[in-house]
């Protein structure tokens, strides 16, 4: 068995076990003590079973959402970093999250009431916003007929980020104070999905993105050498960049629509994974997805417990980890 194959299986198995342990273990932890025996007691009808409802309606959807968002953001982070050839790129660098945030803030401030296939107005508007941002950034990157320039892409993304941030501040300023509380809460990132509907709605774009991701790792390795080096080793660089951009944006859009803009997952997890497994994207990508899921589940448990009964938005926990993490990276560089 070749070295890569061995390492791939080894790391996937290990991190897969960690992720699985997190998914199974996290619903058992919370501010309320639940009686597991009673929760699984089939004699008690589910409609009356408080322990079962806490487990399956309050906690499990949250944990699954954390797994999905964590995996999506971590994987998208890896792909964006390969696309932009920069380990400091994040899923939010190119403006996707800003578009999602604008959509959500507008939906909250306009008090939209519609709901489609179990998807609330805020989630739907958020996803639409993310798609809009992707379209704008892509159009800007293509405006010069040279094909797909990652430099122009970066500039377009940064521009969109500032512009949309300004719009978001404006909307918040003129909106009702009641709605402002809600928008602030959304912007901090929160996984309290309260049901499986939002998760199911986020699955199709996430799965589509991951299918595309499966095709990318070798290409991302070659792109790391440079565009010409990749091209001369058989990569259609323009197409690969497009696939990477759209797939990673789709995953990010789905994740942010589900849980809000939860920061730092898309940069901390890829960094940690590279430290553990090396630079080969064939291992980094699946490893990042698995570690991202476990990591965010862990952060969410902390968010639920640290100030009980008040529940902190999980974005605060990831941010508080992010600061020291970067400090540590800085210190290591020396």
């Amino acid at each position: 068995m070749s070295d890569v194959r061995r390492r791939l299986f080894g790391w996937t198995a290990l991190l897969g076990a960690v992720a699985l342990a997190a998914i199974v273990g996290a619903p058992l932890v919370g501010t309320t003590r639940i009686n597991l025996a009673r929760a699984f007691d089939s004699a008690v009808p589910f409609a009356d079973n408080v322990d079962a409802q806490i487990l399956f309606i309050a906690r499990l959807p949250r944990v699954l959402a954390a797994a999905l968002v964590g995996a999506a953001l971590a994987a998208a982070g890896v792909v964006f970093q390969a696309l932009l050839r920069n380990p400091l790129a994040t899923p939010f660098t190119l403006g996707v999250s800003a578009g999602a945030a604008l959509g959500a803030v507008l939906a909250i401030s306009l008090k939209l009431q519609v709901s489609l296939w179990g998807v609330s107005a805020v989630t739907g508007a958020s996803f639409a916003g993310s798609l809009g941002a992707v379209a704008i950034v892509y159009a800007l990157a293509r405006a010069r007929h040279q094909g797909f320039s990652t430099n122009v892409l970066l500039l377009a993304g940064v521009t969109l980020n500032s512009f949309f941030s300004a719009l978001i501040l404006f909307v918040q300023y003129i909106a009702d104070p009641n709605e402002t509380v809600q928008t602030l809460r959304w912007l901090m990132g929160d996984l309290g999905v309260a049901g499986y509907g939002p998760i199911l709605a986020a699955l199709p774009p996430t799965i589509a993105a991951f299918v595309a991701f499966a095709w990318l790792p070798k290409t991302m390795n070659l792109l790391s050498l440079g565009a010409d080096a990749a091209e001369s080793r058989g990569v259609d660089v323009a197409r690969a960049q497009r696939v990477a951009f759209f797939a990673a944006s789709l995953a990010t859009g789905a994740a942010v629509s589900l849980g809000g803009p939860i920061g730092f997952i898309g940069i901390i997890v890829p960094h940690l994974v590279r430290l553990l497994v090396g630079a080969d994207h064939r291992i980094v990508l699946p490893a990042a997805a698995l570690l991202g899921a476990a990591f965010l589940i862990g952060c969410d448990v902390v968010a639920r417990l640290v100030m009980a009964p008040v529940e902190l938005p999980v974005g605060i926990i990831t941010s508080m980890i992010g600061g020291p993490f970067f400090l540590w990276l800085l210190v290591r560089q020396r």
């Binding site: 070749s2 970093q81 095709w215 390795n221 792109l223 050498l225 010409d228 091209e231 058989g234």
Partner: protein, 274 residues
């Protein structure tokens, strides 16, 4: 083996109409270049900076599609050959390689095997053998497990050549392989390429502005200035004081050095622009 027919490449031009409008002055293109690369030859693309050497090399590699004219590989239009197939037949060594992430030397060389692997296929024992062989050929086996980023300029260049060798292509294109290297490494690269050509029959096209490097390594030369071909042919006939004057506006002495067994160039003085 590789033939360029009246190849023209202008940045930003998509059609021949655009050609008439002219090109962006700051990015070199090439106009109406024709050349033939025989199997087993070492051809030099010689010219000053901005003469279009790199652009021509990229067109020959198939990385850029010519705006006019065509490139054929063994008689087949390069544009119609699938990318992976092309990668198994033409390998490119760029001027500089900047890795975005921390790959090891072994991983960099193994990337040369990707054109031979299926979409989801991982490297197998045979690929490892080819990679080790490439490392040996470039004298870099002892660097196999080192991170690429920790290597010296000369070592990096040799590893990148090893990675290109791992593609097992017949044709190797090098872009300014000595540009950022010390004298010792320059000579090492020259002798490495000559040896690969001799022992493996590797056909080589090298773009360079270094007169002595070209004189020592290449059997024939293509002279480029401002995107157009000033001349081509065997080195002894093409590399003369007059052609150097035309290329570089420089007075130089050119002679065959018996002791070194090769043509030598001594630049003397820059002449005025007419």
């Amino acid at each position: 083996m590789l033939k360029a027919d009246s190849v023209t490449y202008i940045h930003g031009a998509r059609t021949t109409d655009d050609l008439a409008k002219g090109s962006r002055a700051d990015v070199p293109g090439v106009r109406d270049v024709s050349l033939t690369v025989e199997r087993g030859a070492i051809i030099g693309l010689l010219g000053p900076n901005g003469s279009g050497k790199t652009t021509l090399l990229r067109v020959l590699a198939g990385v850029l599609a010519p705006t006019a004219g065509r490139v054929t590989l063994d008689g087949v239009n390069l544009a119609s050959i699938a990318r992976r197939e092309r990668a198994r037949r033409i390998a490119v060594v760029p001027q500089e390689t900047h890795l975005a992430f921390d790959f090891s030397v072994r991983e960099v060389v193994l990337m040369g095997r990707y054109p031979h692997l299926g979409a989801f296929e991982l490297e197998g024992p045979h690929d490892l053998v080819v990679a080790r062989d490439a490392l040996a050929a470039t004298g870099t086996e002892h660097l196999e497990h080192r991170p690429f980023a920790t290597l010296s300029g000369g070592e990096k260049q040799r590893v990148v050549i090893a990675s290109a060798l791992a593609q097992q292509a017949d044709l190797l294109l090098l872009d300014e392989p000595t540009a950022s290297l010390d004298l010792g490494y320059q000579l090492a690269i020259a002798s490495l390429v000559a040896r690969l050509n001799r022992e493996r029959g590797l056909t080589v096209v090298v773009a360079t502005h270094d007169l002595n490097f070209a004189a020592g390594l290449c059997g024939s030369l293509v002279l480029l200035r401002g995107g157009t071909m000033l001349g081509s042919g065997p080195t002894a006939e093409t590399l003369t004081a007059a052609s150097i004057q035309a290329l570089y506006d420089v007075d130089a002495r050119v002679w065959f050095d018996q002791g070194a067994g090769r043509i030598a160039v001594l630049p003397i003085e820059k002449t005025r622009h007419v």
